[in-house]
Amino acid sequence: MYSSNILSITTFIYGLAGFSYLFAWVFKKPLIGKLATWVAVLGFAGNTSGFLWRWRESYQMGFGHAPLSNLYESLIFFAWTIVAIYLFIERKYNNRVIGAFTTPIAFLAMAYASLSPNISDRIQPLIPALKSNWLIAHVMTCFIGYAAFAIAFGVSCMYLFKQKDTDESGPLLKFFPNINMLDELTHQLVMFGFLFLSAGIITGAVWANSAWGRYWGWDPKETWSLITWFVYATLLHARLMRGWHGKRIAILSIVGFGAVLFTYFGVNLLPGLHSYGAM
């Protein structure tokens, strides 16, 4: 399949982009940083066309559906959303060090999708449970939320590195954005992610009600999405109502992303109704 080839190439482009961002940061080469941006944009274009091409191919195979129906396709969309949000942030804040901490996540998602022997990149027709208009709304909202949390995770890690040396900024940390900006960016991303996670859980609940006759059933995936929601709700309340800032918020954001990862991958090890997410 043509789209799988495009997406395999995209994986390497993302790898190159992540490497360039790291290189530009560590060796202080702003020109390489500019190059990294263009490589990331190229990868993003490849990711977009791979996604759209796969959609088209599924129609050519006679059972057209949006490429959001299994683990492979969700990883592709996850990477796409991460890079989209990252490029927006880079443009807005004009800082490329964040790229060194976020584009590698997109690369890892794509590499896992393309290289893992357990993940099939074949376009499969939809099983009856997935034949619903809610598929697109549910998967897209969830993964936009997950991607925002992934970037918040990267930014929180940067915060923890940066706050370690307070007095003399080391040569590597000098190019980090201002520590308050990192803190504020984490907060903004978590709010954005929380809105979409809520929307994702809600669209999932409405879908479950039309497919299985219940909007909530304590299925492991549902429960883990709620656990994730609880963690980020804690973060928002701690920050807005109890004035938590900096380190504690960064740690909560990292714990929250751990819950996201478990919701995404770990739950597949547990029995439940969402098993098609594992294929």
Binding site: P125, I127, P128, L195, V206, Y215, H237, A238, V267
Partner: protein
């Protein structure tokens, strides 16, 4: 909370306890942590299975703590109730302390507050305050919902504000959580959740409830006319389809084919395609080959219904399907057994094994009977629900999305443009605040100052 305050009233103490955000954080994290258990230990299985896995001591301990049905345990539900009370009390408390900010017709502005802001934009123009006032009033009232002009000791101040209502966003989110829980309670109090298996061609009104052995009787009947399952070439299921008819007093009132994701709804009850299974077949396509003429006749035979054969060959009745029939002591596998009654003579038993199509030739009768097609028979597994709380829950969903959006991305913004006349020149100071994302507000203040400077220096009436 300040420690010096001593509350004499115990009610007051309880109220104070529930206004604590620390309680919210503890409850949210406890709910998150305990929810994990239920995803690691499969819920609502047979006690014997648990006993085998965990052994006697752990089994008894887990049973006491309701670990096997954790989300319905008293302590988990208590945490949800505490969180709900916490949300309600916090919201009421904050609404009453902020009522002067939240409920105002004509907002008043504190000039000193704007003068003390760290970020202010200042510029001068050649126009007089009187000229600028008119232009700037128009500018501010177009961009901000509420506008007011006040005289100051230096000149005039134009105040503007918008988005005061966005302060209600957070209460909307809290209201949505309470709405969701009320919807859930209505569902579990006045609804039910059950299933029924209906063989093709039959009907039922008895719904077996999940999590209990009780049976609910519907005031209508559901008939399954037909069930079909189709597969992709890969073998994966493509579609499960049940053709259903709703019967009231034996009269058909509604017909619908249901598939997964497209249920039938009738009188507040929803019927979902959930599963299916095979039943012993009671219909088969048979071929009858006449020995005399060599003609082959194909007929459908239904269990226990006589089939008249042409050429005066007699009648044939299908009697049963044997899972493993025997012939002269040999197992011949699945076989239909029928009775052939010739016009003259005794009825004979006919064995029609599915594995050997030409088996009946050995009987050497006037007619050779063979199975052409074995029509499979299914039952459809239906999930039957009633949930009158679902619309309350959906209302909660909408409130939550709206509330989160308002809370996170909209803010209450105030701006002050102060005009101080110094001779023919006017000195203009722009300052603004927002209750959220103040950094973005400061960018906005700078942008507005730029525009005001442009509008003020160009000495013509801006009509665009």
């Amino acid at each position: 909370m300040s420690n010096q305050v001593i509350f004499a009233d115990p009610l007051e103490k309880i109220w104070r306890f529930f206004t604590s955000v620390r309680l919210t954080i503890v409850l949210l994290l406890s709910l998150a942590a305990t929810s994990i258990i239920g995803t690691l230990i499969p819920q609502n299985e047979e006690p014997a299975a648990y006993f085998q896995i965990f052994g006697g001591v752990l089994f008894r301990l887990f049973s006491i703590l309701d670990i096997f049905d954790i989300y319905h345990s008293w302590w988990f539900q208590l945490m949800i109730v505490l969180l709900t009370v916490n949300i309600i009390v916090c919201s009421i408390d904050r609404l009453s302390t902020n009522r002067r900010i939240l409920f105002v017709r004509n907002p008043s502005y504190n000039l000193a507050r704007f003068r003390n802001l760290k970020h202010r934009e200042t510029f001068s123009t050649e126009s007089s305050p009187g000229q600028l006032k008119k232009i700037y009033k128009k500018f501010i009232s177009r961009r901000f919902g509420h506008m007011r002009v006040e005289e100051t000791e230096r000149g005039i101040a134009i105040f503007g504000e918008k988005g005061r209502w966005t302060r209600f966003g957070v209460y909307t989110v809290h209201l949505s959580v309470v709405t969701l829980l009320i919807g859930g309670l209505i569902g579990s109090g006045f609804g039910f959740d059950g299933f029924v298996n209906i063989p093709e061609g039959e009907s039922s009104r008895h719904i077996r409830l999940r999590n209990s052995k009780a049976v609910v009787q519907l005031d209508f009947e559901i008939r399954c006319n037909d069930f079909e399952v189709s597969f992709y070439d890969s073998g994966a299921p493509k579609e499960y389809r049940s053709s259903l008819t709703v019967l009231e007093n034996g009269q058909a009132v509604l017909e619908k084919d249901i598939i997964v994701n497209d249920p039938l709804r009738y009188k507040g009850i929803s019927i979902f395609q959930a599963s299916y299974g095979n039943l012993p077949s009671n219909e088969v396509v048979l071929s009858f080959t006449s020995k005399k003429t060599g003609m082959i006749y194909t007929k459908n035979a239904i269990m226990d219904q006589a089939v008249d054969l042409p050429e005066k060959l007699g009648t044939f009745v299908l009697k049963e399907l044997q899972r493993s029939a025997t012939f002269k002591g040999h197992d011949i596998g699945e076989a239909f057994i029928g009775i052939l009654t010739p016009p003259a003579g005794d009825p004979v038993e006919v064995i029609l094994p599915l594995r050997f199509p030409s088996f009946d030739k050995m009987r050497k009768g006037n007619v050779v009977i063979a199975v052409v097609e074995h029509v499979p028979r299914f039952y459809t597994g239906l999930q039957v629900n009633k949930d009158p709380g679902v619309w309350v829950v959906y209302t909660g969903f909408i409130l939550m999305i709206l509330g989160c959006y308002i809370t996170f991305f909209l803010s209450h913004q105030q701006i002050c443009v102060e005009l101080a006349g110094t001779g023919r020149k006017t000195r203009i100071t722009v300052a603004g605040t927002a209750n959220k994302n103040n950094a973005a507000m400061q960018t906005k203040v700078s942008r507005i100052a730029d525009q005001l400077a442009k509008w003020g220096t160009i000495d013509r009436h801006p009509s665009t």
